[in-house]
């Protein structure tokens, strides 16, 4: 950098006007006094998109959520949901370019909570809270017809393959980990990683880096054969909606009336959300090993959290490098840093020059960010431990159910299973009651078969 400085100094000597006159005239070249009556053009400052339009977005979101809830629970119409999905894809996806969306909004909230200088935009807060509130009443209605990401994946799904249950259950903890990471990096001010690695926004914008476009293509191709891969295995907001819909007031019911256990709906869900009936065991002794395992797992839970927190604290140093100031400070302190040469200034050497000039400020900021990561690493690790532990616990609990039912958390309320049910077909007039009765006979037969098996 000394060479570069030298170069500048040499130029300063050649251009005495530059530094010398600063005290008197702040401009190197005084502004001209025009004699021909010349008028200076005004600087144009095109305004950003108005705040009013953002309220329109919120209104559209609330309306779409309401319509989705009605379509799922009252109208029970897959076709209606397809139309709504198309609308959402066009509006939130291609028109609003996927920004702001609830998937990224947890980061705005986390950033705002930990950095009081940042005002959480009203819209970001609304986009974060409103779909969650809806999930407490009507399940994942946001996913069913409002989310542009979900809509895109849902609409391109042509031939769903079944994901093995163990893989599904293993991968379904990834969204929670991603959510934790998103919150950690946002809260420490390192950036919004959920936005950075969002695979569909580049598609809505038709632009992006090579890496992200490859990711987008990969996800889109996968979506043709695996139902909603992003929703199931990555979406951090879906992780929250899943929790919300676990306690939702209304749930998706495959049958409008009563389940004849014909098993016709079983294969209709491309997301593997439909669960078989499970009778509560009459004999409590048979449950003893399960109970014991559950007990052990509950004991293991704090251990997992502690181990996770410890591991997370080890990760805090590499993770903090995602913060640009920390990265710069490290590079600046690195003895092998590239020496800036005149004429070939790269962003890197320019940043190093800046670090050289403001070394103290940059090192202080970097140290402060590091401290935040030290704390954040523990929390993040503990969170991962908790998520893994709770997943294990949930795997060894049994929920007794009488009918074929969608799993509350995994159901995207897409409405595909409705018309698979013969009783629903009778209700909408696609099947005569007599034909349905035939299926009921089938039910009796399968019952006999089932009891023969046990």
């Amino acid at each position: 950098m000394s060479l570069r400085r030298f170069g500048i100094a040499a130029f300063a000597l050649l251009a005495p006007l530059w530094n010398g006159g600063l005290a008197l005239a702040e401009q190197r070249f005084p502004p001209p006094e025009f004699e021909t009556g010349y008028k200076m053009p005004a600087i144009t400052t095109p305004a950003p998109r108005g705040l009013a339009m953002e309220y329109v977005d919120v209104a559209v979101l609330v309306t779409a959520l309401g319509v989705a809830a009605w379509l799922v629970h009252r109208k029970r119409s897959r076709r209606g949901l397809i139309v709504l999905s198309l609308f959402s894809l066009v509006y939130f996806g291609f028109y609003r370019k996927g920004c702001i969306c609830p998937i990224g909004a947890p980061q705005n909230v986390a950033y705002g909570l930990f950095n009081p200088d940042y005002a959480i935009p009203v819209t970001a807060l609304a986009f974060f809270l409103v779909p969650l509130l809806f999930s407490l009443f009507s399940g994942r209605t946001f996913c069913s017809g409002v989310c542009p990401h979900g809509a895109l994946q849902d609409l391109v799904l042509i031939k769903p393959v079944k994901v093995p249950l163990w893989l599904e259950q293993g991968l379904s903890i990834v969204p929670y980990i991603f959510l934790g990471a998103g919150v950690l990096f946002a809260a420490t001010g390192a950036g919004f990683v959920i936005c950075r690695f969002d695979p569909f926004i580049p598609l809505f914008r038709m632009t992006g880096s090579f890496f992200i476009l490859c990711l987008a293509g990969g996800f889109l191709l996968t979506s043709l054969f695996v139902g909603r891969p992003f929703c199931r295995f990555l979406c951090p907001y879906g992780a929250l909606l899943r929790l919300g819909s676990l306690v939702s007031k209304w749930r998706v019911r495959i049958t409008p009336d009563y389940c004849t256990q014909c098993r016709l709906c079983e294969q209709s869900c491309p997301f593997g959300a439909i669960r078989e009936p499970l009778v509560a065991t009459a004999n409590p002794a048979a449950l003893a090993p399960d109970r014991r395992r559950l007990g052990w797992l509950l004991l293991l839970l704090p251990v997992l959290i502690a181990v996770g927190a410890w591991g997370g604290s080890k990760l805090s140093v590499p993770a903090s490098r995602l913060h640009p100031t920390v990265a710069l400070a490290e590079k600046y302190l690195d003895p092998k840093k590239p020496a800036p040469t005149p004429g070939s200034a790269t962003p890197e050497t320019l940043a190093l020059t800046r670090a050289d000039e403001n070394a103290e400020a940059i090192l202080t900021t970097a140290a402060a960010v590091r401290r935040k990561f030290d704390v954040g690493g523990w929390w993040f690790g503990g969170w991962v431990g908790l998520v893994v532990g709770l997943r294990l616990v949930s795997l060894s609990t049994r929920t007794a159910r009488a009918d074929f039912e969608p799993d509350r958390g995994s159901c995207y309320a897409c409405g595909r299973c409705y018309l698979a049910c013969p009783n629903e077909r009778v209700r909408v007039g696609l099947l005569s009651p007599a034909e349905a009765a035939g299926l009921n006979a089938n039910r009796a037969a399968s019952r006999v078969a089932a009891s023969a098996r046990t």
């Binding site: 010349y38 600087i43 306690v247």
Partner: protein
């Protein structure tokens, strides 16, 4: 017909637990809203903007924006422009001649219009449809001239990404969120 099936008793233990959890979650969301709303000082949206005094002309504005060409453009503050014949933002060092020949220009896309006003003054305008935000002219003008050329995020183009892709890589750490009501940092004095 769409009423819940009769073989599901409306209230049982699980149902009770769910109602409680839902109530707790709603309280939580409400508390969250309260905290989030009081923690934020300004009650308005923000947009991304460049602080011209921190820009070090690294060139990332031209390449890192998600838009091609970038939403960042060069802005000319006429008030502080010297209207120089030999504009160091317009001409390369030691130009062959002081004319509009492309080989003489700093700007790779010839986005700067040079207009004769009166002897010896020339007006310089940026054609934003051509400007790619590379900061080459900004460097020339700021290092050796009055610094009336500087980069700004143009909000008629910018998508206001939740995380600006340039902000992450800006060598001068010049990108910040500014209140949407004052979306530009217009230079009115040279060399701030």
């Amino acid at each position: 017909m769409s009423t819940p099936a009769p073989n599901h008793p409306p209230v049982n233990r699980r149902q009770f637990f769910r109602d409680g959890a839902r109530l707790a979650a709603m309280t939580g969301l409400g508390a969250f809203l309260g905290v989030a709303a009081t923690r934020s000082r300004a009650s308005q949206n923000t947009v991304w903007q460049i602080d011209p005094s921190k820009c070090v002309y690294c060139g990332q504005c031209a390449t890192a924006c998600v838009l091609k060409p970038s939403a960042v453009k060069c802005v000319q503050s006429y008030e502080i422009c010297g209207y120089c014949d030999l504009c160091t933002g317009y001409f390369v060092p030691q130009p062959n001649s002081l004319d509009t020949g492309a080989e003489n220009q700093v700007c790779p896309t010839a986005a700067i219009e040079r207009k004769f006003i009166e002897d010896p003054y020339f007006e310089y305008n940026i054609d934003e449809n051509r400007c790619i935000g590379c900061a080459k002219c900004v460097e020339g003008c700021t290092r050796f001239g009055n610094g009336s050329f500087y980069l700004q995020v143009r909000h008629d183009r910018c998508l206001n990404c939740n995380e600006c892709s340039i902000a992450r890589v800006c060598a001068g750490d010049a990108f910040h969120r500014v209140p949407a009501s004052e979306p530009y940092v217009i230079k009115t004095t040279a060399h701030e």
